[in-house]
Amino acid sequence: MVTPLDIIKKKRAEAVSRIIGKGYLSTKRVYVGMATCEIAAGSDEVMRVFRDAISKGGLTDVYLSQKGCVGRCNLEPTVEIIESGKNPVRYGLITPEKAQDIIDRHLKKGEVITEWVID
């Protein structure tokens, strides 16, 4: 008999492959905080910069996702970058201009912009 546990395990496997299908295994993953607090601090504009860079600006091999609030309220909007083989980085107080810099310097050239990093 198929139990609810069997069903949920199957659903999980399907969910994982759908996430991978969306490009989760790209070498770079970018997360933008999108809770009310982050949006109030301007994260939707930041999100747009990343989205546009991927759809129009030729930024490739990047998995972009939104996320909830991590609790770093005074440093919002936050942007996280997880890159294959490198230490993950969380940037704080990101503006659309800084987001463009992150795309040009970090994502395209691999330079971590240390002065914006929350550590």
């Binding site: 139990t3 609810p4 659903k11 295994l25 009310t36 909830g68 997880i82 294959s84």
Partner: protein, 596 residues
């Protein structure tokens, strides 16, 4: 051969010390050798918070955690796990699987090092609008486990073992509440999630729902199964549009997956959740008022007993819990009541989420194990007070809590300890106050809030808070009278004892606790017309001293033209015009403006 894997290696100082960097080099070499370097990606992470078991390696998908990995183990991990998809059992760390996923990705150890995230385990990790993200991190597994091999009694037993208590403020044992609701006989029962977060400065519930809505739904479904209900209500305030949008999407997605609705996951259990919007009345956070509001009546409390567990929504037995309580349920089910009961201290198990605000370097959302001290939250996690100012007090529990001075900073955060020192856990608001704040004004501010939110049903709360507020306003205006302090205390104790619901019973707390801990400040206001923080405008005047060089900065800054004087001569403030805004004090570079 071999699936696609993501291997995360801990790069915390402790793991580096134990050789995590050598492990990584070796691992990458082996991946090359076996020709799977393209399929397996390696990521580094900051401290994963499991230093004692380091070096730590996490392999996804599957979320397998290896601890104490040595160079000799790498071959086995690559050949068995990464190639043959056969995890190496002897290296797996059998800790809780669900909490603290936080560290598994990021460092930021100063802020997160002392935290432990159970209720917020997915907040800021997953895309809250994606049910796939939730499912991939063992989402809805607790519900499936309950439906597969637990009876409702087993669920309640597990919950009682966990020692989980209500996170909305009162701290009633959750397992007992569930048991009472299950025991009540009725053809229909309900579960309610109380998301009517009204405390000024509190945002725990909003963040939890916005960051991980499915957890709350999963908790509610488990609760419904345990008590025998088929219908749930999510009572959420209309001021949280994004939270409402996300919880609605979560409900819709769960229905599409057969996780809500009829015959959930092929079982004979059916459950559905409906959203009810609150119109912003603070009193509707009180459970009986909330129930009236859902029924369509004016939100007013009624005397208890009967408790909602016997006679609640539409007079049927109703299980009502707070957002954070619901968010803890899946962890209790998956990791077990025994595991959960080991977190925390004394009779307070698990963790508590706090929204830390006020005069603090890192304002934010913090989840700590019970038993953490106030000092650890304020100084270690949140970085202390900005601008070299002196700490004065911390208000826990929102407008119904108490103000605790420096002597109480080492108080352990748990229900009993906080009550002992005259404050409450409350729902988790925490406001830090520095020396620039006046305690009389603080008390006045909080009482003004509760007074205007009093529903007016019972006299002690309606009339009593009004009279208390009048006295407080009088004191802060410099018109305090001999005997006011005693009057406030008498009224306060009376309101605490005689009010109908929690709102009135706790409304005097800020006043009584400041009277107890900062009595001198009240006395100074009344007898010496002095406000030591320089906040009560009635007792404040700005004067220009001989340090003035006549630069004119204050003259230009004054919004009401109260300052006169020629260039390079000492200026003068006309006290009749001055509105005491403090602009001159802020702009003066020569310390020539004095408060008195």
């Amino acid at each position: 051969m071999g699936k696609e894997y993501v291997v995360t290696l801990c790069e915390g100082p402790s793991c580096i010390h134990k050789g995590s960097r050598r492990l990584r080099q070796l691992l990458e070499k082996k991946l090359e050798k076996h020709g799977i370097a393209g399929k397996v990606r390696t990521f580094l992470s900051g401290c994963l918070g499991m230093c004692a078991k380091g070096p730590i390696m996490v392999i996804n998908p599957g979320y397998v955690i290896y601890g104490g990995v040595t160079v000799d183990d790498v071959d086995e991990i690559v050949e068995q796990h990464l190639i043959k998809d056969n995890p190496v059992a002897r290296l797996t760390v059998k800790e809780s699987h669900l909490y603290n996923r936080f560290f598994r990705v990021f460092g930021d150890a100063k802020f997160f090092g002392k935290q432990m995230r159970i209720a917020l385990r997915n907040c800021g990790i997953i895309d809250p609008e994606s049910i796939e993200d939730y499912l991939s991190l063992r989402g809805y597994e607790a519900l499936a486990k309950v439906l597969t091999d637990m009876t409702p009694e087993d669920v309640i037993e597990e919950l009682k073992k966990s020692g989980l208590r209500g996170r909305g403020g009162a701290g009633f044992p959750t397992g007992l509440k569930w048991q009472f609701t299950r025991a009540a006989e009725s053809d229909e029962k309900y579960v309610i999630c109380n998301a009517d977060e009204g405390d000024p400065g509190a945002f725990m519930d909003r963040s939890a729902i916005e960051g991980d809505p499915h957890t709350v739904i999963e908790g509610m479904a488990i609760g419904a199964y345990a008590i025998g209900a088929n219908k749930g209500y999510m009572y959420i305030r209309a001021e949280y549009p994004l939270a409402i949008e996300r919880i609605q999407k979560a409900i819709d997605d769960a229905k599409k997956h057969g996780i809500l609705g009829d015959n959930i996951l092929g079982s004979d259990f059916s459950f559905d959740v409906e959203i009810k919007l609150g119109a912003g009345a603070f009193v509707c956070g009180e459970e009986t008022a909330l129930i009236h509001s859902i029924e369509g009546y004016r939100g007013m409390p009624r005397p208890r007993p009967p408790y909602p567990s016997v006679k609640g929504l539409f007079d049927k037995p109703t299980l009502i819990n707070n957002v954070e309580t619901w968010a803890n349920i899946p962890v209790v089910i998956i990791d077990g009541g025994d595991w959960f009961s080991k977190v925390g201290v004394g009779k307070s198990n698990g963790t508590k989420v706090f929204a830390v605000a006020g005069r603090i370097v890192n304002t934010g959302l913090v989840e700590v194990p019970m038993g953490t001290t106030l000092r650890e939250i304020i100084y270690d996690i949140c970085g202390g007070i900005p601008g070299n100012k002196k700490f004065k007090a911390v208000q826990t529990g929102g407008p119904s809590g108490g103000c605790l001075p420096e002597d109480f900073l080492d108080t352990s955060i748990d229900y009993e300890s906080l009550a002992e020192v005259g404050s409450i856990m409350g729902s988790g608001g925490m406001i830090v106050i520095d020396e620039d704040s006046c305690m009389v004004q603080m008390a006045e501010f909080f009482l003004e809030f509760t007074q205007s939110e009093s529903c007016g049903k019972c006299t002690p709360c309606r009339e009593g808070t009004k009279r208390m507020l009048e006295i407080l306003t009088r004191i802060s205006k410099g018109k305090g009278q001999d005997g006011d302090i005693e009057k406030l205390e008498r009224l306060g104790h009376m309101i605490q004892k005689a009010s109908l619901c929690g709102l009135g019973q706790s409304a005097p707390n800020p006043v009584l606790s400041t009277l107890k801990n900062f009595r001198d400040e009240y006395k100074e206001h009344i007898y010496n017309s002095k406000c030591r923080a320089g906040q009560c405008k009635a007792m404040l005047s700005y004067l220009i001293t001989d340090n003035c060089i006549g630069c004119g900065a204050c003259l230009r800054a004054c919004p009401v033209d109260a300052i006169t004087g020629n260039k390079k001569e000492k200026h003068l403030i006309n006290q009749d015009i001055c509105i005491k805004c403090g602009k001159c004090y802020e702009v003066c570079k020569f310390d020539a403006v004095a408060k008195s």
